[in-house]
Each structure stands twice: as structure tokens, then as C-alpha cells.
């Protein structure tokens, strides 16, 4: 399955396909790997574990998410997950395997193997940057809005549930909008866990590890969540992921 996703400003890369030298290909494309055994089909993975930059400049999310936060969160935390993953899989049978393969293998049904944290966090962070855009927020539309209204009774109810999940994930973790069995649901996960290992398609995420918001909001996680929802979410990315997830589910059904 191949989706050509051309966008005018601001450009949104869903996933770029890197060649073996780690160079991003110039066209924007979404490559789906269908795994017929499970619903946990990944939404494009890079076999080279390259630290992709966010699809916008590091200061482009200001004032809602500071340049300083992006410099540390992407430039240090995300980079470390990628670099440490590469070191960790070197010389093992995980080396060179696609990221989603590593994630599922090392999740090991909840009995986490050492490389899980780095692998899942590398995936989660790339997914997170792509869940946001400059001048984001607002309301979704089209098919996505229709499904949100169907599965949560209203957008406002979804907002409440997503907000609550993000606010009540104790310690480090993530809140997600996910798709499985033709239903949308909100889930929260601890540390590096993501919906891929829970058998669903991630559509949207917010990082609620303290490093994601501490420089800008300190302890005020609720303010961070509100800012994310009102000013940062890229509903275009979420809609595109929903389309891809529906295609992937119907193909593997």
C-alpha cells in the first residue's frame, strides 16, 4: 500500500523513506507494513534507526512549546533513544530489523526485554513530533470527527477523556487516541509502552513524561495538555493515520 501525501505549507511528513545511507527521499510517502497475523500493523518504520527531525523548525511551535524544549526533548532525549538503540542491538539478532519488529519482540508480552525502552521510545517520539504542527489545534473534521462523535458521543467528550487520560497517567507515560476493531478509543500507557504492542493502531499521542513539559510548564501538566489540544495537535496527521489504519485493518481482516 502506498499513499502519496503532498502538502502545501506547512509541510507534514508522515514518514519519509530513508535509503541505506540514511538520506531522506525527496518525496513524501507513507509506507505501510501489513502484518496479517495481528492488528498491530505499524505505520511505516525505518530500518536504519535514523533520528528524523520534526517536520517543522525547532522554534516553530512557539509560544506553545518552546524552542528550548524541542532542543532538549528532540535533540537530547529522542537522540539518545536512537543512539542507544543502535548500540544495544549491535551484534544481536535484532540488528537491522525494522523498528516495529524490535518493539514487538522486546515487549515480550509485557515481560520487557532490555531494548524495548529505547526502541519504543524512538518510535513514540517520532510519532509525537508528527502529531503536532505549527498553528495546530482546533477541531478535527470529516471522517475523523464523525467517528469521534460516534465513539465518544461528542468531540467534547473525547477531549475530556483524552485530557483525563493524559492527566492521570501516573509517573512517566503517554496518552493516545487509538483505533482497533473499527472503534476509536483513548488509552494511557506507562513509560515506553504504546498501542502497537496492545494490538491497536496509534492515531495521536501526547508525551506526559515530565521532560516533555517541565521547562515550559513545570508541574502544571493540565496546562500543558490544554495547550497541546488547543494549539498543537495536527488533525491532518491524525486523519491520515486513521485512513491508513482503516485500509490496513480491512486488508488484514
Amino acid at each position: 500500500m502506498h499513499l502519496n501525501y503532498q502538502k502545501a505549507e506547512p509541510s507534514i511528513k508522515l514518514k519519509t523513506h530513508t535509503d541505506s545511507t540514511g538520506v531522506c527521499s525527496p518525496h513524501l510517502s507513507l509506507k505501510l507494513e501489513l502484518q496479517s497475523q495481528s492488528m498491530a500493523a505499524s505505520i511505516a518504520v525505518t530500518a536504519n534507526y535514523v533520528l528524523q527531525p520534526p517536520p517543522y523548525a525547532l522554534d516553530a511551535l512557539e509560544p506553545h512549546m518552546s524552542k528550548q524544549t524541542l532542543e532538549f526533548h528532540w535533540g537530547k532525549h529522542h537522540r539518545a533513544y536512537v543512539d542507544n538503540l543502535k548500540k544495544q542491538v549491535l551484534g544481536t539478532d535484532l540488528e537491522g530489523k525494522p523498528l516495529d519488529h524490535i518493539i514487538n519482540k522486546t515487549y515480550n508480552n509485557g515481560d520487557l526485554l532490555p531494548a524495548f525502552n529505547n526502541a519504543a521510545q524512538a518510535w513514540n517520539h517520532e510519532f509525537f513530533w508528527e502529531s503536532m504542527k505549527p498553528n495546530g489545534g482546533g477541531k478535527p473534521s470529516g471522517e475523523l470527527l464523525a467517528l469521534l462523535e460516534r465513539d465518544f458521543t461528542s468531540y467534547e467528550k473525547f477531549y475530556e477523556e483524552f485530557n483525563a487520560a493524559a492527566a492521570t497517567q501516573f509517573g512517566a507515560g503517554w496518552a493516545w487516541l487509538a483505533y482497533a476493531n473499527d472503534k476509536l478509543k483513548v488509552v494511557k500507557t506507562p513509560n515506553a509502552v504504546n498501542p502497537l504492542v496492545l494490538g491497536s493502531f496509534p492515531l495521536l499521542t501526547i508525551d506526559v513524561w515530565e521532560h516533555a513539559y517541565y521547562l515550559d510548564f513545570q508541574n502544571r501538566r493540565p496546562d500543558y495538555i490544554k495547550t497541546f489540544m488547543n494549539n498543537l495537535v495536527s488533525w491532518e496527521a491524525v486523519s491520515a493515520r486513521l485512513e491508513a489504519a482503516k485500509v490496513a485493518s480491512s486488508s488484514s481482516a
Binding site: 537530547k76 507515560g173 521532560h211 521547562l215
Partner: protein, 231 residues
């Protein structure tokens, strides 16, 4: 129980600021945030005043507030005999009660340099550390490595196993108190490795925080606890 409640209500007016107060006939204690025994800036440069203030006034206060709420809900659920509500409250109690317990220990584990912060332990604890870890440096290296390796949020501890009469280093996740790793474990030194404990100053470099925090560790308090438990 009833006698204790009556006596406490009589003395309630005379009670100075303590870390607990009694409400209701059952004498359910709720909690208040105690003041730190030093100024927020007194641990600089190891831990910034900004971090100490937010850590104490915001994070610890939130644990106290939420713990009290959970306790009041628990009291009601117990009175009603609502078993599933009681069970459902356990995680809120562990998170927030654990957060309160752990931070009470943490503030005592720290001291300004001019009040002995960073001074190596003497006496029986000092000897025990040398026996079990070779040297204080050996212990520090071990705790720093284990603290750095905690994934997500948690704590690294030096504890005393009362039963086996030996010192142990262990970590706990989130706000789990050390006792969740073993009923006979007594915490001597706990170091908070949640990102809120160091991020504004050390950013992503948790090992640098762990290197510096030892300069303000209050070994006198740890020794007191150790000696009390060993006698």
C-alpha cells in the same frame, strides 16, 4: 480508639502545627505539608532553590492533597462496606501516600553543607557501608548507576534489611515506598530520580544530578535511623 479520639479533640485547640490532624469520630488522620528544615536555596549549587521550591510547594503538596482526598474517599467506602471502591482506591493511595512518605524521608536525607550535608557517615553506619560496599565511594557509585538506570520515574534507595541485618541498594518505580520491595526494608537514604527532581537544573543529564546530590546528603539522619533499627 475512642479514648484516643476524645483526648485528641480536647487537645486539638492546643495543638501546634503538626503534620497531621484528626477529623471525624473515627479519628481518621489527614496530613499537611511540613516545612523544610532549611531554606529553599540552602542546598545550592547541588540542587537549585527553584527546584526545591517547586518540588516542595507543588509536587509534595499535590501528593498530600490527593492522599487526603483518597483517605476520605476510603473512609466513606469502608463505612459503606463497598469492597470494590476500597480496592479501586488502592492505586491512588499508593501513588499519593507513597509520594508523601517518600518525600518526607527525602527532605530529611538532604542538608545544607554548613549543617553537615555531604559529610561522610561515621560510627556504625560508616562501618557497615565499608563492610557491605567496600567504601563509601563504592556505595555512591552503585547507587548513582542504579539511579541513572531507572526507566521512567522512581527512586534509588540505601536500605537496611532488618531481618537479614544487612544494607541493600534497591530502586522503586513511581512513588512506591521501599517497603514494597521487602517488608523488612527500612529506608536510610532515598534519592528522587523523577525528572521533576532535577530537570530545571540538570535537564536530561540525570547522571550529573546524581553526581552532585551526594554533596548535600545528610548522613547524620541516615545514621540515626540505622542505629535506632540496630538496637
Amino acid at each position: 480508639m475512642a479514648i484516643r479520639c476524645v483526648a485528641s479533640r480536647k487537645t486539638l485547640a492546643g495543638l501546634k502545627e503538626t503534620s497531621s490532624r484528626l477529623i471525624g469520630f473515627r479519628g481518621i488522620q489527614t496530613f499537611t505539608l511540613p516545612d523544610l528544615p532549611y531554606d529553599y536555596g540552602a542546598l545550592e549549587p547541588a540542587i537549585s532553590g527553584e527546584i526545591m521550591q517547586i518540588h516542595h510547594q507543588k509536587h509534595h503538596q499535590t501528593y498530600v492533597t490527593n492522599y487526603n482526598n483518597a483517605l476520605e474517599q476510603l473512609d466513606q467506602a469502608v463505612s459503606k462496606g463497598d469492597a470494590s471502591a476500597v480496592v479501586k482506591l488502592q492505586s491512588a493511595i499508593k501513588f499519593n501516600g507513597g509520594g508523601h512518605v517518600n518525600h518526607l524521608i527525602f527532605w530529611k536525607n538532604l542538608a545544607p553543607v554548613k549543617e553537615g550535608g555531604g559529610e561522610p557517615p561515621k560510627g556504625s553506619l560508616g562501618s557497615a557501608i565499608d563492610t557491605h560496599f567496600g567504601s563509601l565511594e563504592g556505595l555512591v557509585k552503585k547507587m548513582s548507576a542504579e539511579g541513572a538506570a531507572v526507566q521512567g520515574s522512581g527512586w534509588v534507595w540505601l536500605g537496611l534489611d532488618k531481618e537479614l541485618k544487612k544494607l541493600v541498594v534497591d530502586t522503586t518505580a513511581n512513588q512506591d515506598p521501599l517497603v514494597t520491595k521487602g517488608g523488612s526494608l527500612v529506608p536510610l537514604v532515598g534519592i528522587d530520580v523523577w525528572e521533576h527532581a532535577y530537570y530545571l537544573q540538570y535537564k536530561n543529564v540525570r547522571p550529573e544530578y546524581l553526581k552532585n546530590v551526594w554533596k548535600v546528603i545528610n548522613w547524620k539522619y541516615a545514621s540515626e535511623i540505622y542505629e535506632k533499627e540496630c538496637n
